[in-house]
Symmetry: D2
Subunit: 310 residues, 4 copies
């Protein structure tokens, strides 16, 4: 169906953060810089408007603009997949249509996240959505934000539907991930991707297809090299790079007192690196003095440590 989208999709597909100048103004220069930075690092695809992309916090106009600009900059060098998760079915479809019109390759959908739905409701929702989606799609399991897990039994039924080509699991629960691998082992075209980068090494070593790892916004080649080492069964190198990834996570994602430290840390660091602005959409706000200082210090140290590895 799609010239550019491998089946299954493999590798490092960063969940791109959305560079902003203000609440409703895209940092276009930063966007270009960030995309070129990641493509130069060897990434295998780009996922926009996910959680790291603050998708649900952006206005619809901004989401449309971001899709167009990203596609324009990427110029079909790598696949672009677009988050369409929304509490409104109709608006999800609207965004999917924009993505298709522009030329993107696939969409990504998590369960609607306001109400508590049940598994049958979730399956029916996906079934209805398929009729209206103009692109193949990935499921997005993100229970801490959507309050709903795709049960393995539901997955068994959903993968029978047309156009479901993969799943990104951000539950952080590798027991669940291995269960999915087990029940999907006959589906060789179905892409199983991990969210949290701390789990990338084991995901690839034990048969997963890739990672949608936030840190690849910052150090794309680190994640690409880790992926490649694991695919090549190079355990020695895999362990070293895995440890570097844990180092990144420990240095940048736990600064500040709220759960948004991950997002703030990445944006703050990108600004330090001169790549883009670090404005965050409401309800978040960028790091101020003390947290910024910690990130700066860790940045200096990390840059050296990672350069030595690559």
């Amino acid at each position: 169906m799609n010239r550019k989208l491998p089946s299954p999709l493999r590798g490092i597909i960063p969940p791109m953060i959305t560079p902003l100048l203000e609440k409703n103004i895209l940092d276009r220069k930063g966007l270009e810089c960030l995309i070129e930075h990641m493509i130069a690092g060897g990434i295998h695809g780009l996922f926009i408007l996910g959680s790291s992309g603050e998708g649900p916090s952006l206005s619809y106009n901004l989401r449309r603009e971001l899709i167009q600009e990203t596609y324009r900059i990427v110029k079909e060098r790598i696949p672009v997949i677009v988050g369409i998760t929304d509490t409104s079915f109709v608006e999800s479809v609207n965004i999917a249509k924009v993505a298709a019109d522009v030329g993107c390759d696939a969409v990504v959908i998590a369960p609607p996240y306001y109400f508590h739905a049940g598994q049958e409701e979730l399956i029916e929702y996906i079934r209805h959505l398929i009729f209206e989606l103009p692109l193949p799609f990935f499921l997005y399991n993100m229970p801490s934000l959507t309050k709903l897990t795709f049960d393995p039994d539901s997955i068994k039924r959903i993968v029978e539907f047309e156009n479901v080509i993969g799943l990104k699991d951000s539950s952080g629960n590798m027991i669940y991930f291995h269960q999915l691998q087990y029940i999907l082992k006959a589906r060789r075209d179905f892409s199983l991707l991990i969210g949290p980068e701390e789990l990338l090494a084991e995901t690839i070593l034990l048969g997963g297809h890739g990672g949608i790892c936030g840190g690849a916004n910052l150090f794309p080649s680190l994640y690409v090299k880790l992926y490649e080492a694991a695919v090549a069964d190079d355990l020695f190198l895999t362990r070293k790079l895995h440890e570097a990834v844990i180092n990144v996570a420990n240095s940048l994602y736990n600064v500040g007192k709220y759960k948004s430290s991950y997002l703030k840390g990445i944006k703050c660091m990108l600004k330090e690196m001169g790549i883009c602005e670090d404005f965050l959409a409401e309800p978040f706000h960028c790091f101020r003095g003390p947290e910024r200082q910690i990130i700066q210090n860790n940045f200096t140290r990390l840059r050296t440590e990672i350069k030595d590895l690559l």
Copy 2:
């Protein structure tokens, strides 16, 4: 500031369900019928686009249409307040502007519900929002859906801002509600409203101002009479009507196996009563055979029991 909006707002302000013909088509005839049914029952205001109104599940076009139609039908007989809760700050403000342009009286805002925000972030979010909101607003505490409670200490700070005129608490936690009453007792113009109708009697008996109770879509005069009995310190009648409300909740809100039983039960019953269609926005779907039968049976019984009381 507002001719029609009492300070504090008191009484029964039903969280109106949104009558739908299809996923993206308003049941205009049903809407008119439902509004007249509730006004005839003596309600003191109308709250649209809340959780019972499936606000977050509706497209933006439909939300705009609903605001306009509701205002047209109500004709300033009672205050209309409009839910603007959204994960996108910009879209929240957009809806608030529609509400103001049309002539509505206030808006209602819960915390953005995708990401996990902290209390300081929540306070700053509200502070930023106030600059852009064209109407006074109510806070909406709904932790089971938004994953975030307005801490009493945050409330103390937020009520110092301009234009915050009340709070709807749907936590179901009366310890929390009494704490709010205690810390806000000097703010006689601030309206403290309860969400769950099972808690309406005690809310009013112990000094709360009113209820935003879903069952008032069905039996508005039952809730109005309960409110009036409690305001009048008529404990005998309050207990009888309170028991009838518990009866409604037990008969209609626990049918079906998912957490959406409340919404499905109310819409199903409204259809049984000939008031409007019972189509639900995704990810929900109306009751089918067996559940519908239970609702029908309970309806027949309930109608008699409630008629005897009123």
Copy 3:
């Protein structure tokens, strides 16, 4: 069956804290002082070895000693009911036998709290327990600590068993409490008691039988008077005393940074009042400097405010 135990049990039955000199040494003098203080305040019964009594944190020898000493001091002036909640069925029965041998009136049992049990398992557990319990018993719904709620449907089945004479609800969820009242309204001998004192006023106003309120360790007559005012339909006085209870809770139970503030606050205050020592069983430890100072200041204020009321 029991000379001293009214059916249903009504009124204020304080969940007595356990005065300790050291980790495994009872403060016998403090115990006597505390019991006389509460009986002088007019309480209607005494509940020992509950959560406020740190039951699960005490050694079995200490639990036995406490049961014997309490019974000796109370001298049958009021009913004594004994918490036997344990993760081990056999040890629960052992403690129940001690309570029966000593002459206590009933026992109280929450679900075993280590493993996650299901409702059928819970019902069967209770059914098996009944065969071995030598005393009538109260159910104790405490989901925040036991990870399990007694579902209303389970309650319907359990109350058919022999010897179940009441339920203490510490869920803080008045919707649940009203549901239980509704389904149990034909069981006039079954006692429905509330745990959190913030909910005592509405519990009694709307037909509940009493409260197992921690603050009654401190100011027993305040809670007894509130109970009596609500039973007498004296809404004016009920509101005043309810507000005083909220004042106690706000002044004493939120000091310190952990969830144990309630327990530490009560013990600290009892020491301030000269009633008993404030040693806590592991994993808790009594308030030190700054928290103690806050409690002392609030104590001085509270004592005056409450004296004026009584």
Copy 4:
């Protein structure tokens, strides 16, 4: 300090289930049979009275008997470590003393699990415990049952105490596990063990020391071989055995409708294998007809599949 206990402890240390004839009667014959079965399979140690051992559900007499019998049967062939987790500090110490007197090698302690403690309280609790523990000990992180996680920052402080020799992590959260590995990498004598067997492969591949895996009660040599393959960097064999472990988990741990399926499944299967009785301590009960049939069918299939691998 201890002749038999390697530093760090490595390998497969099954969390032994406790064979019972009745609620309070040990299945001594089954115990002997089970221990010999596991030692024959090559296990590196034995952990008794953990969650799989239903420790908290057993009477203290039974716990003492189990410790003595296990030690007698094991005859110092492998280290025996004993769970002493309890809500009562004093009873934890009592059990630890029994373990020491009998000759066991270490104890295992999770946070007290009735009350919600904070991190400072947890650290102080451990510090106090150390003064009274006669044996070195492992921490046990089991947040789903104890409601409390050992925060990485708390771990950093606790490992400075004497006699803390390792940690078993049953959180199922590999992000957390990798964080612990990162902060403890200088502590080469500290043993990091995983609970859930689905995570054993990646734990060993990425530097963890071993697994306390329930399935090793059933198929000890499967887990020992998986451990050995991963230690030897044999990725091909590791993947095959990892898949077999997932197969065991999927076949046996999800039968039945409650969260206790894991425990019931293992005990049911052990009875099928003729090793011991499958009586469970309250509040659980062994599988009856339909579930037993599923386990039997899966057993026949599994035995063949696993035999082919070993």
